[in-house]
Symmetry: D2
Subunit: 103 residues, 4 copies
């Protein structure tokens, strides 16, 4: 019954270089124990709705400590009975195509 969620969280008041704040979020995700995968435009995490949202909130609360304006984008995909989709979806595309893709 788990959910796959990609999110990104970005401060708007820290100038064009926001890597320091992004790294702080990823560190929280990494230490949370949730299954995740970092991509160029966001981090995908997988788990129960409440667990997934708790990770996003932790990142948001951390960023609020020293950022005055924050933008959060989230996209969730739920599929009944499915699991390990964080790797499975890409593998399934490769199986259909019959060859590996860039990932």
């Amino acid at each position: 019954m788990s959910v796959l969620l990609e999110f990104s969280i970005t401060p708007l008041d820290k100038g064009e270089s926001v890597g320091k704040y992004v790294a702080r979020s990823i560190d929280l995700v990494d230490k949370s124990g949730i299954d995740y995968q970092l991509g160029p435009m966001g981090t995908s995490i997988e788990g129960e709705w409440d667990d997934v949202m708790a990770v996003v909130k932790k990142c948001f609360d951390e960023m609020k400590r020293d950022c005055r304006r924050i933008s959060v984008a989230m996209k969730a995909d739920y599929r009944e009975g499915a699991s390990n989709r964080i790797r499975g979806k890409v593998e399934s595309v490769e199986k259909r195509l019959g060859h590996p893709v860039k990932k």
Copy 2:
């Protein structure tokens, strides 16, 4: 300290017409008491992070009752010390432009 969040929640397994499921979500938002505004591509709600997320979860749980695959898109905008941005942001654009916009 409130957050402005736009969200849309859509079943993928109900065919091209999903209005019945969308209406059910809006009904939940409307009855929740949270400040909201319905637009053509999503519903904006404003409040504390936990309150806003509780509304989204209620809509998700309701949709899970009879939908097997669900897509949720969310975009949040937090600004320290700001409030009533659900109307204020559009009014602020109109003030800057010096004329009303379509809304």
Copy 3:
């Protein structure tokens, strides 16, 4: 065959107040002649794919003139044979619910 698209375009290197840049985009949308509706979290526009994308690009090009880092979020909804969904989708929800909603 038209597409309904909501977009927002935000500079990351201009500090927490980005209203000036947002207003400049809305002005371009307003003058473009495309059907649009401004909401608290984005602007919805409706038209053929190329026309809709030309408006987004115009806003992006304008912002690039004096912004070094820009974030663009877009969400499109295409439905064969449908039109005037920029107002029609909300009206359809109200019809289903049997009462007006906040919009």
Copy 4:
């Protein structure tokens, strides 16, 4: 002057399993020659605005051939003077953290 764009394109009228349509899009991306990376929730591509948008449009046009309702989500990140961010952004997070992340 290139843009990093993540997109996903999904039919709503084909039931809960949409892998066939997703694979068709990825095949188009793969054959387009654009630099890309497939993730669990979307495909990131990098290039000039027009080139990136041409790839998305190709996928959309292909899907329109046999799908009646289509949802497209896109998120773009532009940074003046930056390039190869499709790999560089994740590497930069790892460098800051001082250890590899799941990717």
